[in-house]
Symmetry: C2
Subunit: 248 residues, 2 copies
DNA sequence: GCAAAAGTGTTATAAATACACCCATGC
DNA sequence: GCATGGGTGTATTTATAACACTTTTGC
């Protein structure tokens, strides 16, 4: 029924899932990468991911690969599909398409080097995208699209709080926006926006003593998922696009 | 190497593409559907789509299937990936995942019934989603998600003009918003928003005589792709969600 | 003239922006 | 006291919402 020499034949395909896991760490946006332990691209950096198994759901495969390759428990993570990459030439081993997922997580330690990976670790996104060597496969493209998606999501949703360890301060949350968008926000206007949007953050009543300055009020994530009206990059976009361009 | 009885084995998968093609026709949002000519789901309505072929790109497969099954030339269409659906149980024939695409097009005639399809035709989206029988496979879910994506895209982008045949009037464009969102907009405020957003529409200088009333100025699509600030459903969302709920 | 739809103007409200200023802490 | 960041207040500008009003057509 299936004849490889017939270009009109259906193609049997192997399917992988790849994960773009972002965090804010040391005031920079970082992404979880592994160093590949096998060819192709042996020794190169890549997104964690791997083949789906018989009867396995796509999102289940993503969680499993994340656990296996990086030791990160993704059960609390909100995984969202980014896009599917299916260029016939994207994998030298043959026809492999990949379903890319995106998730945002608070800064957490990563240890374990798993089966297919020599090591898993956080790397600054801007640095990774500037490096000449680049990532394995088409992972540079995936990472770029994930970055743009994350930036856009901060505008219309409350997911920025997913980067924060509870309880957190308004300044912690603002830092997330500043790091992901690449420019500074006005602290007083930002606080107003966040505190006056129902369900974005909930005050705990506690305060945290800082190294310097007045202690800051602490908050937990609220229940709202959408920001309306949104928190737009608008006027600053000209500026932010400069820094995006610099990454290309 | 691959052992079907081993649940840890990589799964060889067949990949399809499915297309959600929307148009506004007779003042309703309609979707291009085919009637399936073969099992499974023979005789049932389904999204146009089919298997990708050896060495074929995903978007190329989408364009080809559209042409084959509906006779529609998609080369001028902006196809955008919606999401990939990969539930192990979604296709009774075995493991088949599908990459869904979304496109908006002006009202155009559809004729031809192609290879795998008995007939292709436009159907009102609200009617399709209300029908008990439902679409083949998980196409109801795909259609619902496509509808929400399209509604959302009208807020942040200028794609609504993709529904209009050039040249068009501001009222034509407003009708698109009203039909897709399911509620009326204020004509004067809408016109201001559209004409004052750089690159949304360009005046041709011509006018069109209507059946009734004053002739309307004609416009072409502009070059802008993003709307900033967006044209939000905001306050009306409560109302629009009612009509969405009614579709479920 | 009337009806109908295009198109303009005006006012009220809400939100984003810019920035001055006060507060609470460590030293 | 000072420096530092947290937090409040306010004037300006910009965008939306609601709606009155004028214009241009067919009949």
């Amino acid at each position: 029924m299936i004849n490889r020499s017939d270009s009109r034949a259906r193609e049997q395909v192997l399917v992988t899932v790849d994960l773009v896991i972002f965090t804010v760490r040391e005031d920079r946006l970082q992404v979880l990468l592994i160093e590949r332990g096998q060819p192709p691209f042996e020794g190169r950096l890549a997104l964690p991911g791997g083949y789906i198994r018989v009867g396995e759901r796509l999102d289940a495969a993503a969680l499993r690969e994340l656990q296996e390759e990086t030791g990160v428990d993704g059960s609390q993570l909100h995984l969202e599909q980014l896009r599917t990459y299916g260029d016939p030439e994207r994998d030298p081993r043959g026809r492999v398409i990949t379903v890319a997922y995106l998730a945002l997580t608070p800064d957490m330690p990563v240890a374990r080097a798993g089966t297919d990976a020599r090591s898993a670790d956080w790397r600054p996104v801007d640095q990774v995208l500037q490096e000449e060597a680049g990532l394995a496969f088409d992972h540079d493209v995936i990472l770029r699209e994930a970055l743009e998606r994350a930036r856009s999501q901060l505008e219309y949703t409350t997911v920025a709080s997913a980067f924060c360890i509870e309880p957190f301060t308004i300044a912690d949350l603002r830092c997330v926006y500043e790091v992901v968008w690449g420019f500074k926000l006005d602290p007083s206007n930002f606080r107003r926006k966040v505190t006056r949007t129902d369900g974005f953050v909930e005050p705990t009543g506690e305060h945290r003593v800082q190294e310097l300055g007045r202690p800051a009020a602490l908050y937990r994530r609220g229940t709202a998922r959408l920001l309306s009206p949104p928190l737009l990059r608008s006027s600053e976009v000209a500026h932010s696009q400069l820094s995006t361009a610099a990454l290309r």
